[in-house]
């Protein structure tokens, strides 16, 4: 297992409360660094700057949704290899074939359990 102490995650979600809770969970239950972004635009900028180890991405967002973000990330050589985990209310995206189709590592369905989100991420990302 890799050393997880230096892991950085960018979370993109338009819901402020979700950002706060996930941030708190990550900070409390792991030693990862988490950067939250309230829009796709903000998130893409954060990814470009920090080049995180993983991205947590909400799908249903105003202006640019998660699908558009995915497309952007996959289109760029800088971001194409960054593992992505979806954090979404769309339970249907958690099906294996959808995960493969979208080219993401996994899906955490809302409402997630706050004490388990980091362990779920560890498992998905093989950290």
């Amino acid at each position: 297992m890799e050393n997880t102490s230096s892991k950085t995650i960018v979370l993109i979600d338009d819901e402020e409360y979700i950002c706060q809770i996930v941030k708190t969970c990550v900070e409390v239950f792991s030693n990862w660094k988490i950067i939250t972004a309230r829009s796709a635009k903000e998130g893409l900028a954060a990814i470009a700057i920090t080049h995180p180890d993983a991205i947590l991405l909400d799908m249903l967002m105003p202006n640019m949704d998660g699908f558009a973000v995915l497309k952007r990330l996959k289109a760029s050589t800088k971001s194409v290899d960054i593992p992505i985990v979806l954090l979404t209310a769309r339970a249907d995206l958690a099906e294996a074939h959808k995960i493969a189709e979208l080219g993401v590592q996994g899906v955490i369905v809302k409402p997630f359990h706050p004490t388990q989100i980091t362990s779920e991420l560890s498992q998905i990302l093989n950290w």
Partner: protein
């Protein structure tokens, strides 16, 4: 050796009392070496008579003067019983030139007269020779005559009788008797040239040989040898005839000593002319066969050949007659059987069959009438339909058909209903009216056959009814029905298809389904999916979904239920498809799916916050971080409220849209309603530093006051949310003829034109984040629209970007 030949020794009876004379005469006669004589001598008349009677001499040489009487007495005795006696007698007398005596001698039939004084060797030999010549000639003539008689008898027999066996028996009988032979047979060859004796006459004590099979190597080898050429086999003595041992042995079997055999030749069979042999035998002693014997046998063999021919003709005639007779008998029997069968068939036929004369009287009617009318057939004979009291209509139709038949000579057919006896209902008949002609070609009688077609008719009616029902179903069903032939050409389109797709029937029938009614993008798929079903019906797709193009060019999605149409012989003749236009259903389903998706997101998002916040708190990890813990509590509390509002709005909208809400309509005053709304919103507006300006006339409105307030609060709330601080929000009411118009106007950021309609859809804000930012649920405008529509009004938005928006709705005075 016996011989019936005529050149044998002549027996001469010399009656003379002078021995010397007798000896002289004998010596004289013996001097004639050309002849051979036997002599009988008698010295007296009495002795002469005895010899005459006992020995029947050929010639009598009698002396006129005898010791016991005159020689003439002997002549008298010889001529007894003969009307004109002709005696082979020469009278010798000593009285030369006695004319009286000569006359008397000739009268008694004597052949000649000779004076003893003139007797010399020469004269006697000449006189006796002449008599002998005469005698032999007479005998020959007699023999010929008899022979002709025999032949004539046989010929007559042949003409009288046709049976070959009978004729053969008669021939052998006649020949044997005539030739005084011991045995006469007819021998017939088989095809292998062996043979069998088929007729025989045999003189006792010789044993019969009839039916004896004979086989002579000689015959098969040369197919009958010289017999085939008509040669005659003559053997006066078989032991001197130079015969082969085999032949001799065969002849000895009979037994035979002398044989005369002539062939019987078949005149009509050139390949195998030898039919058989006609054989006559002397069994005991050799025998010279006379030329006449041979001729007789030859002639009779010819007669036999004729008889044979005749018998064959007769037999073939008999066979042909018998055959003809048999055939006539068979045919008669067959005809009789057929007639019996026909009678039985007609009599037992379920069809009513009757024959009428030209006066339309019944000549015959079968027993079916009894089952139909309960009247026995006999009651009809000699009566007309009318006399039998049949229904007038049936009589008129029948008479009409018969009239046409008589006029045109053409068989007629018609159908008729007929009431059955005992109230058994109505039977339907197909009636055939057929003319029957007499020998002069005139219509003599009329045959009528009533075939019961009741079950057919009932089936036909049932079929018609079924067709009518199907047609009615197809005409009225609110489903599309399309029939295509094997070439994809439209054969049938029901009215619903025409109505819903906007086509006329003429624009559809015969048209190519794919190119005319299916969007181009789908044509190829359909061709691929259905292309092979004609050859392999198992590949036929029963259920299919595709779009079709309406006349106006719209595309409607239809869900098809397809069936293959086949002939009775299973040959595919096309398809019949029943389709449901599922375009609206699909749209609803899509919207529903979208709604569920969004609703799910909208519900899960606050739930996530609540669960996350409370979960963190509950885990105790925030025990040492009271600020963070407090924040979590605030988050949980805030999103709980949000969730409550959302759930309330969803349920409210659901009730409204499912028409489960009954409006509590009552007369209210618009001014009062608006005042209530402003009072509700005033605090919020003030908080946002927004001024609400209202211009509301007092106007009675018949509406659900609370729902109207809900609507206006919702609209005013939105206006306040999207207005900049220190701006104004206007609430206006205008009464026009039939309705009252409410308007809520703001000076906010405005709504893009493309969103002016969709903002009234559920969760369809201009900006999805608005609901969170502005504390809305995304369902407010949808609820407003539903309330307005429940009142029979309409709602719409107008906007200029960055200048403001106006949302208006109408409430009719009365619905």
């Amino acid at each position: 050796m016996t011989s019936p030949t005529l050149d044998v020794a002549i027996t001469i009876l010399i009656v003379d009392d002078s021995e010397e004379d007798r000896v002289t005469y004998m010596r004289y006669l013996q001097s004639d070496l050309s002849r051979s004589y036997n002599f009988l001598e008698a010295a007296t008349l009495e002795e002469g008579l005895i010899f005459w009677r006992s020995h029947q001499p050929d010639i009598v040489l009698v002396d006129y003067s005898l010791p016991d009487g005159e020689g003439l007495e002997l002549l008298e005795a010889m001529g007894e019983g003969v009307l004109v006696p002709k005696l082979e007698a020469i009278v010798l007398t000593g009285h030369r030139g006695n004319e009286q005596l000569i006359l008397q001698t000739m009268r008694l039939g004597a052949a000649d007269y000779l004076s003893k004084s003139e007797v010399t060797a020469l004269s006697l030999c000449n006189r006796v020779g002449r008599v002998v010549d005469h005698l032999l000639l007479s005998r020959k003539l007699q023999r010929l005559q008899n022979q002709e008689i025999v032949i004539a008898k046989i010929a007559l027999h042949i003409r009288q009788y046709f049976d070959l066996e009978e004729i053969s028996n008669a021939i052998v009988q006649e020949i044997r008797a005539f030739l005084k032979a011991d045995r006469t047979v007819i021998y017939r060859f088989n095809s292998d040239m062996s043979g069998v004796i088929i007729a025989e006459s045999v003189f006792p004590p010789w044993e019969t040989c009839i039916h004896r099979q004979l086989s002579d190597e000689y015959f098969p080898e040369n197919m009958g040898g010289e017999y085939r050429e008509g040669r005659v086999f003559i053997a006066p003595d078989i032991y001197t005839a130079n015969l082969s041992e085999c032949h001799l042995h065969m002849l000895e079997q009979f037994p035979t000593r002398a044989s005369l055999i002539v062939p019987i030749l078949h005149p009509n069979n050139l390949d195998h002319p030898l039919w058989g042999l006609l054989c006559t035998y002397q069994c005991f002693e050799p025998h010279f066969w006379d030329e006449l014997d041979i001729r007789l046998l030859q002639q009779l063999s010819v007669q036999l050949a004729i008889a044979l021919q005749q018998a064959e003709l007769y037999r073939s005639l008999q066979i042909s007659n018998t055959d003809l007779e048999n055939r006539v008998n068979e045919r008669t029997a067959e005809l009789f059987k057929r007639q019996q069968e026909s009678t039985a068939l007609v009599e037992n036929s379920p069809n009513l069959i009757l024959r009428l004369d030209r006066q339309l009287r019944h000549l015959y009617i079968n027993s079916a009438i009894e089952k139909i009318l309960g009247i026995p057939p006999a009651a009809f004979i000699g009566k007309t339909f009318r006399e039998m009291g049949l229904p007038e209509r049936s009589i008129l139709v029948a008479e009409d058909a018969i009239r046409t038949l008589v006029t045109t000579g053409i068989s007629q057919q018609y159908e008729i209903e007929f009431p059955l006896s005992d109230n058994r209902g109505t039977a339907h008949y197909q009636v055939s009216v057929i003319p029957e002609y007499d020998a002069d070609g005139e219509i003599s009688t009329i045959l009528m056959v009533f075939a019961d077609i009741t079950s057919n008719k009932l089936s036909e009616f049932a079929l018609q009814e079924a067709n009518r029902r199907w047609q009615s179903l197809l005409d009225n069903v609110r489903l599309i029905v399309i029939g295509l032939d094997n070439e994809w050409k439209v054969e049938y389109a029901n009215p619903f298809f025409l109505e819903s797709m906007g086509y006329e029937l003429a624009e559809v029938i015969g048209k190519d389904w794919l190119s005319c009614f299916v969007p181009q993008s789908e044509q190829e798929n359909i061709r691929r999916d259905f292309g092979g079903f004609l050859n392999n019906p198992d590949k036929f797709l029963k259920y299919y979904q595709n779009a079709i193009v309406t006349k106006s060019g719209q595309e409607r999605v239809v869900s098809w239920n397809n069936t293959i149409l086949r002939k009775q012989n299973n040959e595919v003749i096309g398809t019949m498809s029943i389709g449901e236009d599922i375009t609206d259903k699909l749209k609803v389903e899509r919207l529903k799916s979208e709604f569920i998706s969004i609703a799910s997101h909208e519900l899960r998002t606050p739930l996530s916050s609540i669960r996350g916040a409370l979960g963190l708190l509950a885990s105790g990890v925030l025990a040492n971080q009271p600020e963070v813990a407090q924040n979590m509590l605030n988050i949980a509390s805030s999103d709980t409220e949000r969730l409550v509002r959302l759930v309330n709005d969803i349920l409210d909208l659901e009730r409204l849209e499912s028409n489960n809400v009954t409006l509590n309509r009552q007369w209210s005053d618009t001014a009062e309603i608006c005042q209530q709304v402003i009072e509700t919103m005033e605090a919020i507006a003030a908080k946002s530093q927004i001024e609400i300006i209202s211009n509301v006339p007092s106007q009675q409105i018949f509406a659900d006051r609370d729902r109207l307030v809900q609507t206006l609060v919702n609209l005013l709330s939105n206006a306040v949310k999207f207005s900049m601080p220190h701006s104004q929000v206007h609430l206006e009411v205008e009464a026009i003829t039939d309705e009252i118009i409410f308007r809520v106007r703001d000076h906010g950021r405005g709504i893009p034109e493309s969103n002016l309609e969709s903002i009234f859809e559920r969760f369809n804000q201009v900006d999805a984040s608005d609901s969170r930012q502005m504390g809305g649920t995304g369902l407010g405008l949808a609820i407003c629209r539903s309330i307005v529509q429940q009142h029979g009004g309409k709602i719409w938005a107008e906007s200029v970007l960055n200048q403001g928006s106006t949302v208006s709705f109408t409430i009719p005075h009365r619905i």
